[in-house]
Symmetry: C2
Subunit: 130 residues, 2 copies
């Protein structure tokens, strides 16, 4: 059976494609963080939503993320997702691959719903930018 | 100031070097998981301790892990650690680099202590093994 988190990530990718950032934020924890780019982090839903709006504009409203191979490591109410994240857009991000090995951390809330706590599409490549 | 988790990981590396696996287990959550190798996961403290004893034997009791560049992404009581993990031993692991880009997930417990929930020294390279 497909892991519930796979469905959540598919919904997130669809929300990004449709630029429905309110729907997107339903899948993030209140205190979630997003690595916008190396060295820049958005904290909390409002900053993350604003960042997604800017990211969308940067890609001329043409960004379509999809996931390739995905591995979910689950430990109690916490899960680490390792995912081949493919970004398709009219223009590429300067200096970074559009074919990434992303790392996402999800937490299960008290209603049993998986929410994204840490959204880092750059994966361990961030280490190279230190 | 150094992040508290850096100190925890240093203590863990020391405990592995000294083969003090009881001390090592103090830094893991009860329901933690360890990626022993691609496709094999140890769940819970007892399995993780047993796995570390076997790993230690595999490396002829000569395993010394150290960390190079490290990045800690913290979101509330959850943190994702991206770390250059260097494994030194008399023999290398067959088929896997001893210079890794590891992913560790830590959780802060009710006493404010950071504990390892997901220990995956293979990082996103696990995706390539699917």
């Amino acid at each position: 059976m497909e892991h519930e988190i796979k469905g959540v990530i598919r919904e997130c990718d669809l929300a990004i494609k449709q630029e429905d950032f309110d729907a997107l934020m339903d899948y993030y924890c209140e205190d979630a963080i997003l690595v916008v780019k190396p060295g820049r982090i958005a904290r909390g839903k409002q900053e993350i939503k604003d960042a997604f709006i800017k990211i969308s504009q940067y890609f001329h409203n043409s960004l379509v993320p999809t996931q390739g191979e995905m591995l979910i490591l689950e430990a109690g109410d916490t899960a680490l997702v390792l995912s081949q994240t493919l970004l398709d857009a009219e223009q590429n991000e300067q200096g970074f691959s559009m074919d990434r090995r992303a790392t996402y951390v999800f937490k299960k809330n008290s209603q049993g719903k998986w929410l994204c706590a840490i959204d880092n599409s750059y994966g361990t490549d961030l280490i190279n930018t230190l």
